[in-house]
Amino acid sequence: MPSISHPRPPSASPPVISVVGLSKTYASGFCALRNIDLEIRRGEIFALLGPNGAGKTTLISIICGIVNPGDGKVLVDGHDIVRDYRAARALIGLVPQELTTDAFETVWATVTFTRGLFGKPANPVYIERLLKDLSLWGKKDSRLLALSGGMKRRVLIAKALSHEPKILFLDEPTAGVDVELRRDMWQLVRRLRETGVTVILTTHYIEEAEEMADRIGVIDKGEIILIEDKVELMRKLGRKQLTLQLQERLSAVPPSLARHRLELSAGGEELIYSYDSGRERSGILELLKDLGDAGVRFKDLHTTQSSLEDIFVSLVHDGGGVRKQR
């Protein structure tokens, strides 16, 4: 596994967002959030995973002020989102899940509008750089209804960043966007992190969380069921498999190798050894030694690790039991 270095903010630094005991029940009686406790660290990329209807968007909407909070408390950089909403909201940029844009405004007008709405004086130089960064400069005078879905998504990002927020929420940012835009977006998020912006993203694309996030939270049925450092999570829950391609087909695993709990696959041409990557001793050395003693020769070998997706599915559907590898 490549060593992933991710900047850890000093532990003394207070969280940039702190959610304490937050619950939300809609007028319909639907309980969207149950007693959520969550702390987002300053400058991190936090991925919130969860199936449809788990409460991701409700949680974001409450923090941003779009949905009334129920019980509980939310602080954004120390500012209560209800009592001190001005200070709290001025720090936040939100890219919503749906492509909700005006129709008749130009790109330039709509982005400038948002900056003003968030209380910042006009800054054409900054807006120009922002539009260029998002490959929108050529479209600055186009009306929004004339833009493609991908371009609209870029406009929503530009709007969210127009007032230089310290915290950026991306609600399903890459749903339905092409590969190029997804790459651009990942790059942008990394660049933002370098400038100290905290990024919170919800996603269905687990590869996205795996690729970008420092920490992962999993929410299901309105409850946070897991918050973990990504690397730690992968290490803790990750299962590894060692696949050995044999020189000669085996009809059964030799009895002398029974203690390694090997599986025979590919019609006897492969031996699969599963182990826990979190353990100090993988047992691979012993296995290889025993294989040599038993006279089993192999021509190639490779290892695979369970992805975040496997972990996620096992958490949400199998009630936490770690699913077997693919």
């Binding site: 809609y26 779009i66 949905v67 909201r89 844009t101 007008a109 948002t114 709405l117 004086p121």
Partner: protein, 253 residues
């Protein structure tokens, strides 16, 4: 005070007017001109003077009031309804703006538009009929006060409406009939006593009457009553808007 936000919303709304110049300004001016041609010149010439004012001139304040009320309501209701409809309202709700600032910007823009329109109609009217304005300052005050009050009413309707039909309903079914029956085209003294009493329940009577007083110095009801009624509406609508924002009515779940 987030003055940048108020400015942004106000300019955004005024830009919308510029884009839709034809329907915002030209259409009301044409339809009002038609009233002058029909009632002022064609039919009006056969109607005797009312309180010493020619019929064509008599209907000018009422016609301006008709446009002012309908345009204030439709401008402001559309301005807040459309973001709800297109869901871009998420941005307004997540912005560091107070309820007062939101109302100030939207109602300010709607009132600006309807006031400008009224002044344009006034200028148009002067081309058709001889006009006299006895109390120009009161005229402007009534104009502005009514514009603000009914833009506020429109804002309430825009928040309340959850489809386009409801958005049209109030102007069509309430504002227009009340204005027509509120003495825009006649003095309520012309009515039999019973209907005169009924008409006094129509709030628009007070608006038209006060406004007409500022032109010709004569009114159906005392000008103080007119002013008090207008301020009363303003207070009522302010209270409703405050309640809507406080509870998040049809804005926030």
């Amino acid at each position: 005070m987030n003055i940048h936000a108020v400015r942004a919303i106000y300019l955004f709304e005024m830009a919308r007017t510029r884009r839709t110049l034809l329907q915002s300004i030209v259409a009301p001016v044409i339809s009002t001109s038609l009233y002058f041609v029909v009632f002022g010149s064609a039919i009006g010439s056969r109607i005797p003077e009312i309180d010493g004012v020619s019929y064509g001139a008599f209907i000018v304040p009422g016609l301006i009031m008709l446009s002012l009320l309908t345009q204030s309501v439709s401008n402001a209701s559309f301005a807040i309804f459309f973001p709800k409809f297109s869901r871009t309202i998420y941005e307004l709700l997540s912005a560091p703006v107070s309820h007062f600032e939101i109302v100030l910007a939207y109602v300010g823009a709607a009132a600006t538009k309807s006031t400008l329109l009224s002044l344009i109609i006034l200028a148009t009217a002067s081309a058709f009929v001889p006009l006299r304005i006895d109390h120009p300052l009161w005229m402007l005050s009534f104009l502005l006060l009514t514009a603000v009050t009914f833009s506020l009413f429109g804002f309430i309707i825009g928040i309340w409406a959850d489809n386009f039909e409801k958005l049209q309903l109030v102007p069509l079914l309430i504002i227009t009939p009340l204005t027509f029956l509120g003495g825009s085209f006649y003095s309520i003294d012309m009515l039999p006593p019973f209907w005169k009493s009924v008409t006094l329940l129509n709030p628009v009577v007070y608006l038209v009457s006060g406004f007409r007083w500022s032109f010709y110095g004569s009114a159906d009801v005392g000008v103080g009553v007119s002013l008090a009624m207008t301020l009363g509406f303003l207070a009522l609508f302010l209270a409703i808007v405050t309640w809507m924002f406080r509870t998040g009515y049809r804005l926030k779940t």
